[in-house]
Symmetry: C3
């Protein structure tokens, strides 16, 4: 079965949680040599993005820049206080499509796959679908 | 044949049109049990996003936040008056990748798939590709 | 083999490089009639987007609007001076999913696929994965 469900407990109100090691492990276990990997979060105040895997300041800068563009303290009509998190989710996107080749997730040297938490801490479900070439 | 073309007539200058029921119907009719679904809009002043399916205020907040970040009345060099709509399209993205499992489109309880109209009202084409596992 | 690696030498600090002709050529050569195409950049200060293929002003407007929302001269904690480029990468996304049907990449009349350079000029690798239906 090529669909995996990851349960992630986020720790902060807003944070980027690195999923790369888990995803690489799933690809390895799957035996898929060539194919596509779709990573999707099942929530509307979170997202999936690919970005720098080394300097944690980059994650801080991404969250801060999103916060400047879409302030959590701004005026919104949605009454739950997390409207900003819904907007941020649509900006980064709820899913990403990755390539699998030679049995490995294809990422650049500096790329990691992140779950973006915009309204935590919460328990989040991420689906990882591996589709092998025919 | 696993490619479907939806014709959507949008009603507003900017709006989010819920495609979820149509997509679920296509998955059901296709008989695909396990696979990937790509939803893509064929236009450059529209987009596809996944977000909250209940409170319509969230849709308003998304459109308003995009409008604050990229005002339709701002200064642009593109002469047709819809430059803001092109930018918004690149921010939310023209397509999204979804998972199909157990014969169902995999979405969280609160997730809907929306066509984002940024320069309507217009007639829009959305392609829905279902690719079954081998 | 259905995975192709494009090497692109960008010329500007920020620019959108049209990949459409190359992608159409790869689809033609592949012989894939029906399937999915994933286009992904292997870097964290670049992105992939689909937008207008005719008026080059639209590309300028997209870059200018991103620069207004996430100024390259803003304050960031990442020390390399390209934090803005990382943020822009997460906004447009590092990859996109496209449909192949009838042996052709499915794009609207005005759509092109662009490599977004946010921290150039540099040599960039773009992966193009074609997955045929079974």
């Amino acid at each position: 079965m090529s669909l995996h469900r990851l349960e992630i407990s986020t720790q902060q109100r807003m944070e980027l949680v690195d999923l790369t090691a888990k995803l690489k492990g799933l690809v390895r276990q799957s035996g898929v040599r060539e194919g596509i990997c779709v990573v999707a979060v099942m929530h509307t105040t979170a997202g999936i993005t690919v970005n720098e895997n080394t300097d944690p300041h980059v994650r801080d800068d991404i969250l801060a820049a999103l916060e400047r563009a879409v302030p959590s303290s701004g005026h919104y009509t949605h009454a739950e206080g997390n409207a900003h998190a819904h907007v941020k989710s649509s900006l980064v996107g709820h899913s990403t499509a990755l390539v699998v080749s030679d049995g490995k997730l294809q990422l650049g040297s500096w790329q990691a796959v992140y779950l973006c938490e915009f309204d935590g801490p919460r328990r989040r479900e991420v689906q990882v679908k591996l589709q092998a070439d025919k």
